[in-house]
Amino acid sequence: MKSTSPQNPNPLKKKLASRFLKAMKKLSHKISSSPSPPSTAERRRRHRAVRAAAYASMASAVGPRRAWSRALLRKLRSKATATSGRKTARRNPRNIGTRFLGLNELCDVVPGGKAMDSCSLLSETGHYIKCLRAQVQIMREILDSSSSSSSSRIL
């Protein structure tokens, strides 16, 4: 099992962190150049932008090596170009209905899951969970470090 102590940094995590932080920097520049009080719609848009940046940095850090990251990249790109219609019809999931009912749920949750067979779905899920966990950790660390610094400023 990989140890997640700070002395032993996970290379995937570093990659995720650098990409996500770059995206955040870009967002913060955009925000600082706009007028100060944001409307609710603007706040919602920023929230969505941060979330999209999180998933985008996950998918791009992993690259096209994994089916879930490919599917995620496709989805993000299609959202960026604002094409609402689904061009590719969803193929029937192969071999999923034969065994476990839980796989139907799982393929909904994992990006690109519906087009995979049971084996790939299970292995992709494992990798997806690892990356999601790392991403959540990074976001928490950013929040913690900034909140600790801001509290030292206020007091």
């Binding site: 099992m1 700070p6 962190a17 650098s18 932080l21 955040m24 920097k25 967002l27 913060s28 520049h29 925000i31 600082s32 944001p38 706040r43 920023r46 929230h47 932008a49 941060v50 979330r51 940046a53 999180a54 998933y55 071999n95 065994r99 476990f100 009912l101 839980g102 796989l103 749920e105 799982l106 949750v109 994992v110 067979d117 049971s118 084996c119 299970l122 292995s123 899920t125 494992g126 997806y128 969970i129 690892k130 999601l132 966990r133 991403q135 959540v136 990074i138 976001m139 928490r140 660390e141 950013i142 929040l143 913690d144 470090s145 900034s146 610094s149 801001s150 400023r153």
Partner: protein, 92 residues
């Protein structure tokens, strides 16, 4: 895990063996903290899959919540302190 039932079906990947599925399910079991903490090796496959779905959904919700807080953070702090926090967290 040691016994391999030699089901020689068609050599193509049209049939997935039980062993493969069980193997992958046990790998998932290791990843999910709830099941791992219960120390039961024989969690049923459907339970593992269910817990996996729940776990992934929870992670999605966490990402959503954290991005909400991060977007608020971007507004409240000016550029310099945000960048300082960023550099500090990168070194962690």
């Amino acid at each position: 895990m040691s016994s391999r039932r030699s089901r020689s079906r068609a050599s193509g990947s049209s049939r997935i063996t039980d062993d493969q599925i069980a193997d992958l399910v046990s790998k998932l079991q290791q990843l999910i903290p709830e099941i791992r903490s219960r120390r039961s090796d024989k969690a049923s496959a459907s339970k593992v899959l269910q817990e996996t779905c729940n776990y992934i959904r929870n992670l999605h919700r966490e990402v959503d919540d954290l991005s909400h807080r991060l977007s608020g953070l971007l507004e409240s702090t000016d550029g310099d302190s945000a960048q300082a926090a960023i550099i500090r967290s990168l070194l962690l």
